[in-house]
């Protein structure tokens, strides 16, 4: 069986989400290449920028009821160092890589896409929805027109698979429509939800960041139900997947594949466990998927 997300073909519907497996260097300490290729359809890299970014000062994390607020601030070594130091080992896995890209401007996104085209990579995910950076990130998601132009611009230099990762807040439907008409190949719905937590009063430690984890799944499931009922672009679901049931719920409501984020942080084996569970559910209820959504 293969899973299609537009023109991208995956061996399983399980994708490991951006930012939840580091830069890839420690992944193989916990999973064997065999386990990975068995269960994982694609890997989305950490958000990569043109220049290295050192990320936000602490606190970067706070646990909330059934959720996690993170404010990493896109710490990454920059695309060039990533391609030199991390990419070669990842490529050997022969699992499709999707490059999650962060630009401060349309020009930066275009330059990033060009660099990937040059190394022969064929799939990118435009991160226009990170709530934890001052420039770029979520601010894009608030303006469908800007997103339209951005995708047009990137499309000119990049023929491969372009997914756009939307923010769950703001004009989601309008932005999704803009992606569709600008020629994106898929939508990733969604990034984290803007959130705030107070860690302590004395000293006063506050974290502004994005909420992920099982707490948000009912919200993203609703969002995907609504977007998939109005928009034809394939949807990659991302939000609170902890079990095979979560994957199946998303597939049932119109997603073509599903990303696993916070669950990797809890247990690096989550993708394998979840893949086993979804296989079982597909055996029992797979026929519900043919009928399409309800």
């Amino acid at each position: 069986m293969t899973w299609k997300v537009g023109n991208l073909e995956l061996k399983t519907p399980i994708i490991i989400a951006s930012g939840t497996w580091g830069l890839g260097d420690t992944l193989l300490q916990y999973l064997t290449p065999q386990e990975l290729t068995y269960a994982v359809g694609a890997l989305v890299t950490k958000g990569l920028s043109l220049e290295p970014m050192s990320g936000n000062p602490p606190p970067r994390l706070m646990e909330t009821p059934c959720g996690l607020i993170n404010s990493i601030g896109l710490e990454n070594p920059g695309i060039k160092t990533f391609l030199e130091d991390y990419y070669p080992r990842l490529r050997e896995l022969k699992i499709p890589l999707i490059f999650n890209l962060h630009g401060n401007s349309e020009e930066e996104f275009i330059r990033l896409a060009e660099i990937l085209r040059e190394v022969g990579e064929e799939a990118i995910e435009l991160n226009i929805s990170c709530p934890n950076v001052k420039k770029g990130g979520i601010s894009f998601s608030q303006s469908p027109e800007v997103v339209f132009e951005l995708i047009r611009g990137v499309r000119k230099v990049f023929e491969g698979f372009i997914a756009v990762k939307l923010s769950p807040v703001g004009p989601v439907m309008e932005t999704a429509l803009a992606c569709e008409s600008a020629g994106a190949d898929a939508l990733t719905i969604a990034n984290t939800y803007p959130a705030l937590g107070i860690i302590s009063y004395e000293p006063l430690r506050i974290i502004r960041g994005g909420l992920s984890g099982p707490a948000i799944k009912p919200l993203t499931l609703r969002l995907i139900t609504e977007v998939s009922s109005r928009i034809k672009l394939p949807i990659i679901a991302s939000g609170g997947v902890m079990s095979g049931k979560d994957v199946f719920d998303y597939l049932l409501m119109g997603a073509s594949a599903v990303q696993i984020g916070t669950a990797n942080l809890i247990d690096p084996w989550s993708p394998i466990k979840i893949y086993e569970e979804i296989k079982e559910l597909l055996r029992s209820y797979g026929r519900l998927l043919d009928k399409g959504n309800t």
Partner: protein, 255 residues
């Protein structure tokens, strides 16, 4: 995460417990003193969401022990786990204590911060133990736990309590500072509450003693995946405590 059998879960004080897990030979070989593991409750409940990190306190004959203090809902749940049930563990995590320890060595533990020194002492040769002293402080006598165990290593055991109910009266850092006037250590490894570590760093500045601190932070992954557990480096940028630590050279980080 892998399932691990709870062999014993012994309450030592109202807030401190000693949890003994059965681990396989493979894991025993892989662990080095200073490293940690994360423990999940394996009950299918998502609150708390993340497994909690604990230092290995002892590792002998396939029995791994942690010394834990109850502070919130995760450790409260740990406290009521019965022998015979299972938890989930991911291990080993983090870096071992530094390889380049120069002796004489002082180990300074505040409260359950002392935990990791058990495993270290277990692995030190008897020769090295002779050049090692253990400083261990708590607020009161009953909070100084596992004393018989620590005594078994036959290292000088320097105790302090805030209320003076056992050993030196005052902070363990006071006792160390006092001793330093007469005794010489070339390396100190300390673990305990942040104020204690700050105090040590401050007071050892310029002393020429190499000071290592075992630090804590909220951790989501413990594996380097999330990049969340950072501390600022003195030289700029950040260390990732779960990957680069938890034990770091005091002078390299901003506390």
């Amino acid at each position: 995460m892998k399932k691990a059998l709870v062999i014993e879960n012994e309450p030592l004080t109202e807030r401190i417990g000693l949890l003994s897990l059965k681990v396989d030979q493979h894991l025993c070989m892989a662990f080095n003193p200073g490293q940690f593991l994360k423990i999940g409750l394996s009950d299918g409940r998502f609150d708390p969401l993340f497994p909690r990190p604990f230092t290995v306190h002892s590792l002998q004959k396939n029995t791994l022990r942690i010394l834990y203090q109850v502070v919130g809902k995760g450790t409260r749940a740990l406290r009521i786990i019965k022998a015979g049930s299972y938890v989930e563990v991911l291990a080993p995590l983090g870096q071992p204590y530094p390889k380049d320890i120069e002796f004489p060595l002082a180990l300074v533990g505040g409260g359950v911060g002392v935990a990791g020194f058990g495993f270290l002492l277990e692995r030190l040769s008897s020769q090295r133990r002779k050049e090692t002293a253990l400083y261990y402080g708590a607020s009161k006598r009953s909070d100084l736990v596992r004393l018989d165990y620590f005594k078994s290593f036959e290292v000088p055991l320097r105790l302090a309590t805030e209320d003076g109910s056992l050993g030196f009266k005052g902070y363990i850092t006071d006792l160390l500072e006092k001793d330093l006037k007469e005794r010489c250590f070339r390396t100190i490894i300390a673990c305990g509450p942040l104020p204690m570590l700050k105090r040590l760093k401050e007071s050892l500045k310029g002393s020429g003693i190499k000071l290592y601190l075992s630090l804590e932070n909220f951790m989501a992954c413990g594996t380097g995946f999330c990049m969340g557990c950072v501390l600022p480096k003195r030289s700029g940028g950040y260390v990732h405590l779960c990957k680069d630590g938890p034990t770091l050279l005091a002078e390299e980080i901003e506390l």
